[in-house]
């Protein structure tokens, strides 16, 4: 169980020559054990193996407490696994790096920097001169639809706008993989839908590898090439499902598409069968 490699041609809509080939991320028998406050061992992740192909949009889906965010933090290099290894392009991950860009549910913007200052931060850190960094930042701010808000401080922005800035800030330093940790989890339903649409539109342009953590079945199916279903106590992979839907995807078309509906019903049924959603978190 666990790994379902994607064979070439399985991803509908991927143009020839841009077919995902090598795995960019390999997670090999990773386990994570925490000490709880009562000094007992809590197994957050148990023996996880997964590989993510370059250019794929992969969602990690599961109930709260299944360790899906922890798995993302291990790939980010923010947390070291208790056992097992995670590799990026064949090299073991030992810490954070500019090749893996996180986007957090909490936005984590620098509140003392304006929108422009936040987005320029990464390019400047990489040694780009300020004129170039500014040009790059303005381009990305336009891409996430925030032109005209460059001078605003994070505190002046709504949640949806903050997450747009966070996405632009991460894209600005050009990571090869985007690590998104329930990025739309703190937003209202309407904003969430808009950001999903916009993210997909941005992603479909350059097809960066994305690892996307969510607990929303619809969000996972709508966005992903592959959905990794996790169960909890302890956190394991219970199923990996390829989402064979054409791209570019448009919500209004998908909602009427029986294949889309089937994926959602099938995944929700699997979660219901395990009774996973009934457990207290």
């Amino acid at each position: 169980m666990g790994v379902t490699p994607i064979r070439p041609g399985e991803l509908a809509g991927v143009p020839l020559g841009r077919r995902p080939a090598e795995p960019i991320i390999e997670i090999d028998h990773v386990s994570q054990v925490f000490k709880t406050s009562s000094r007992r061992d809590h197994t957050a992740l148990s023996n996880i193996s997964l590989s993510v192909e370059e250019g794929a949009f992969v969602s990690i889906l599961g109930p709260s407490g299944c360790g899906k965010s922890t798995l993302l933090y291990i790939v980010g290099g923010f947390v070291s696994p208790t056992s097992g290894t995670a590799k990026m392009k064949g090299k073991p991950i030992t810490g954070p790096g500019t090749d893996r860009g996180p986007v957090f549910q909490e936005f984590a913007l620098f509140p003392w920097k304006s929108v422009l200052g936040n987005v320029m931060y990464g390019p400047l850190q990489q040694g780009m001169n300020s004129a170039k960094a500014e040009a790059r930042a303005l381009e990305l701010i336009a891409m996430v639809g925030l032109t005209g808000f460059e001078k605003f401080y994070p505190k002046e922005l709504s949640g949806g706008m903050k997450q747009r800035v966070a996405l632009a800030r991460t894209l600005a330093y050009g990571p090869e993989v985007l690590l998104m940790d329930e990025p739309f989890g703190a937003l209202d339903a309407h904003t969430r839908t808009r950001l999903q649409n916009d993210l997909l539109e941005i992603w479909e342009r350059d097809r960066k590898t994305v690892l996307f953590v969510t607990h929303s079945v619809e969000e996972a199916v709508f966005l992903s090439d592959k959905v990794v279903m996790m169960s909890r106590s302890p956190g394991r992979i219970r199923e990996v499902i390829d989402i064979d839907l054409p791209r570019p995807r448009r919500r209004e078309e998908l909602l009427l598409d029986p294949r889309y509906q089937n994926y959602i019903v099938e995944i929700e049924r699997m979660f219901d069968d395990s009774g996973d959603n009934e457990l207290p978190s």
């Binding site: 810490g95 893996r100 996180p102 909490e106 990489q126 505190k155 709504s158 330093y173 309407h190």
Partner: protein, 258 residues
Amino acid sequence: MKGALKHLSPALACCGLLLTWQLASLGLKNDSFPTALDSLRAIPPILTDKEALINILASLRRMAIGFALALAFSIPLGLLMGRSRATAAFFNPLLMLVYPVPKAALMPIIMLWLGVGDVSKTLVIFLGVSLPVIYHSFEGAKAVEEKMLWSGAAMGLSAGERLLRIVLPAALPEILTGCRTGLVLALITMVTSEMIARQSGAGNILFNALDMGQYDTVFAMIIIIGAMGICLDAVFETIRRWLVRWSEPQFDMPLSFS
């Protein structure tokens, strides 16, 4: 109307206080309690006296040096304590021991060791300012969101750069709150140190006048020291507001845009 009242109210409060003082003093007819008018009249001679001005400026210089040294020492220490458990575990018990001790109570020992000159007085000011600044820097650094530091790490910032370029600015509002308390404490310890080590300074003028029974000068000095405190605090508050304008409540109304 309301705005005008808001600007006038401090002036009105001052006038009310002076009037009450004047009437109380006239009623009590006590030598050691001069009238407000007499005390105010005693201010210009002090401020035009070269000797007195040199004394007051010396006080302010010691205060500025003590305050600056305290910030240079306390902010880095507080930030380190906030981000490193080992540092916090080492310094916290020490600070808990020192915190409740009135710093002026250490003055006699410090005088014994370092004399009655500038060094002792500056050291007492330094001690008085340090603790609130360490405490607030510590609390500010502790509260910095982990994910903000992770974002910085992913951009390639080293641990030292993260402390300087993420923890410091993120904790700045809290640090400056500590500095503001520290500034008031600097003024208090400045005057007390000069009362104990009577050699020069604003506190010395006050106590000399008391010894000589010049009560209007005593009260005039109290007014001058108080005014200095108010001015310093106002200047500091202006700087503080400008430095942390990004966290001020006027920005608390997010735009409605998804």
